[in-house]
């Protein structure tokens, strides 16, 4: 369903004067920062895929490319046979994206927001009305669907964001850290919804730092480290590859992130334009 082949993404570097950037970062080449290098993986329909990686590993860049807001520098991505660059319009109709920073229009109500995006995606009025009603019910938004978003809690806003990313019934759903900063009940609602996406035949890619979410939900894991895909397979395969019992130990073993010098390198990376 989704085919990612030798994907690469480069950003111009914005160096800070007088500050030395980490020496030996394999992603720096002159004034260029290679956020992603030669990333390849394939996903099947109805799979839930967990995207793992440290902060700055390239997960968000990868998700933005899949959502068509960034263009790859090299390689090829196709969704259901549509090229992500050449057929961006077709791909956009089939992808739903929840970004890391919840981007919502605070002076609209959740209902108005869903109406707006539904219209942008060209959903006929009658179908849109029933789609909004079902999303409001599924995500438990009935109590605040007509209140201004500005006054909603973080959990409510995240539910609105998820509804927004699903309003056009996409076949591929991309969630960037959907449960970060949420309380347990709200996070549970969201995880349940991710699971229900699988039942509807949708493919879900979600990034998270919570290993229990990966173990609970994911059919497959893609591990990105320093812009390179280090692993793709099931949770069991990942543990087996690292020869570890726990997933977080396997993650540390495969990335070498447990090594303090590696951590220093991650935190002292230079700022780059256009990526997290």
């Amino acid at each position: 369903m989704l085919e990612v082949k030798s994907l690469g993404k480069t950003f111009p570097l914005k160096r800070r004067k007088g500050k030395n950037t980490a020496a030996g970062d394999p992603r720096e080449h002159g004034m260029l920062f290679h956020a992603l290098r030669n990333v390849s993986f394939n996903l099947r329909r109805g799979e839930i895929v967990g995207l793992l990686g440290a902060n700055g590993a390239g997960k968000t860049t990868l998700m933005r490319i899949l959502a068509t807001s960034l263009q790859p520098t090299s390689g090829r991505v196709s969704l259901l046979g549509f090229d992500i660059v050449k057929d961006a319009g077709e791909v956009r109709q089939r992808v739903g994206f929840l970004s890391g920073g919840t981007g919502l229009y605070n002076r609209l109500s959740p209902h108005e927001l869903l109406q707006f995006y539904g219209e942008l995606y060209g959903i006929p009025r009658g179908r849109l009305r029933s789609r909004i009603e079902s999303l409001v019910e599924e995500l438990g938004m009935g109590g605040f669907a007509h209140r201004p978003i500005d006054g909603l809690s973080a959990g409510m806003k995240q539910r609105v964001s998820i509804a927004r990313s699903l309003v056009h019934s996409p076949e591929l759903v991309i969630f960037d850290e959907p449960t970060t900063g949420l309380d347990v009940p709200t996070a549970q609602i969201i995880l349940n919804h991710i699971e229900s996406c699988r039942n509807e035949g949708k493919t879900v890619i979600f990034s998270t730092h919570h290993m229990h979410e990966i173990e609970k939900l994911c059919d497959e894991v893609v591990l990105i480290h320093e812009g390179v895909s280090r692993f793709q397979g099931t949770v069991a395969q990942m543990k087996s590859r690292a020869n570890c019992v726990h997933l977080d130990d396997a993650y540390l073993a495969l990335t070498g992130e447990g090594n303090p010098s590696a951590l220093d390198r991650v935190e002292s990376r230079p700022r780059k334009v256009g990526a997290l």
Binding site: P12, R64, A67, T68, S69, L70, Q71, G89, R92, Q93, V95, F97, S99, G101, T102, G103, L104, Y105, N106, R107, L108, E112, F116, Y117, E119, L120, Y121, G122, P148, R164, V273, G274, A275
Partner: protein
């Protein structure tokens, strides 16, 4: 194409109108500030004029014993108060504003006059004083009256007794000033400049407030990232936002025009005769033409602030960049205050300046070349279109969308 533009336009318009602070600001700026400031300025000008005639002017005379008759004349003058200042301190006292003016009478003044010669009396005042002209007029009145008396005595002594003969003798060639400019043309120059500046400034403000929120604000909130992945071409997103900014600018301009008209109507019953005369000469057709000038200028301003807001990485950066750009706009508008610059030639092609000059000419009632209107409108819209194309091109660049 229309649907994406319309959907974004309606959403942005709805959201902007729900911004209570922005709506209150809009009505305050357009409905109250413009006429209130105008009224204050006129009242202040009237009051200053009144005050100046009532103020008692302190003065000093150095060498008063040299021409007692002249001193008597000054003492008889109303609104003047003589104070004692040592001869050598007179200039300093005037400069320090202890006194408003002083006279210095030469030692042998009385003798010189008696001998039929001329006397030079120094009139000392500070030309840097805002009321210098009025001080000079009031301060030399007694001196001129004294001089005239002396002249008449001398003419009588020479046998020229009749007043008419004296006038012919002193001014063999006299002139009468005939002014071909109407009050409207005369006052319209300043008034037209102020109206142009007020309209264009308010119009620019309206566009700026909307643009900051709709582009730089969306970038900062993260909503733009989501909007650009909707299956809508970027040019439609830009156009939708542009239309909201344009509408806001036009609403600001129209509300200002309404409140300014209301204030002018008020001035026709409360203002001075000249102001009333000028205002009543402005026809509804000219008012309509005045409003139509705001359409292309709003189109230009909307494109300009949209381009800057698109380029900026945050609301704060957009605010500072737009402030800098607005200074340039203000300079272009202020051309209307410069005497000697008219709509002929190159200035008719300079955006913003040409509209500012056109508004001035409309208020003066001297806009007679309507073909120039066409070139003004087309040059303004052309620049606006170029800026809009810039915004669209920038919107396609990921480095602009993700400038953080």
């Amino acid at each position: 194409m229309t649907s994406g533009v319309l959907i974004i336009f309606l959403k942005d318009l709805r959201e902007s109108l729900r911004n209570r602070r922005a709506v209150i600001r809009m009505f305050l700026l357009t409905g109250l500030v413009v006429p209130f400031t105008g009224h204050l300025l006129l009242s202040f000008a009237d009051k200053s004029r009144e005050d100046l005639s009532k103020v008692v002017l302190d003065y000093a005379i150095a060498g008063e014993q040299n021409l007692p008759e002249l001193v008597k004349g000054y003492e008889a003058e109303k609104g003047l108060h003589r104070v004692s200042v040592p001869d050598g301190q007179v200039e300093k006292a005037v400069r320090d504003k202890q006194i408003r003016f002083a006279l210095r009478i030469p030692t042998d003044a009385a003798q010189t006059l008696k001998s039929g010669k001329g006397v030079n009396v120094e009139f000392i005042y500070h030309q840097g004083d805002p009321s210098a002209v009025a001080i000079k007029d009031r301060g030399t009145a007694a001196l001129q009256a004294f001089s005239e008396r002396q002249r008449n005595w001398r003419l009588m002594f020479l046998g020229v007794a009749r007043e008419n003969d004296r006038a012919i003798l002193l001014d063999p060639v006299s002139y009468v000033v005939v002014n071909t400019a109407t009050d409207r043309e005369r006052i319209g120059f300043g008034l037209g400049g102020i109206v142009a500046y007020a309209f264009l400034a308010v119009c620019l403000m309206g566009c700026t407030f909307a643009a900051l929120d709709l582009v730089a604000g969306e970038k900062e909130k993260g909503t733009l990232e989501i909007l650009v992945i909707a299956p809508v071409p970027r040019r439609q997103i830009v156009l939708g936002k542009y239309l909201v900014i344009f509408v806001f600018g036009l609403v600001y301009a129209t509300l200002s025009a309404i409140s300014l008209s209301a204030w002018l109507v008020y001035e026709t019953s409360h203002g001075s005769d000249i102001v009333r005369n000028v205002i009543t000469q402005i026809t509804p057709r000219e008012v309509f033409l005045l409003w139509t000038t705001l359409v292309p200028v709003t189109a230009l301003f909307a494109a300009h602030v949209l381009a800057v807001s698109t380029y900026s990485r945050s609301y704060r950066e957009a605010t500072s960049l737009i402030s800098v750009a607005n200074v340039l706009e203000a300079l272009l508008v202020m051309v209307a205050f410069v005497p000697g610059i008219s709509l002929r030639g190159t200035w008719s092609l300079v955006p913003v300046s040409n509209l500012s000059l056109m508004i001035r000419e409309l208020i003066r009632g001297t806009l007679d070349n309507y073909t120039v209107v066409l070139s003004i409108f087309s040059s303004t819209l052309a620049v606006g279109l170029v800026l809009l194309l810039f915004s669209t091109a920038w919107f396609r660049r990921e480095a602009i969308i993700y400038r953080d």
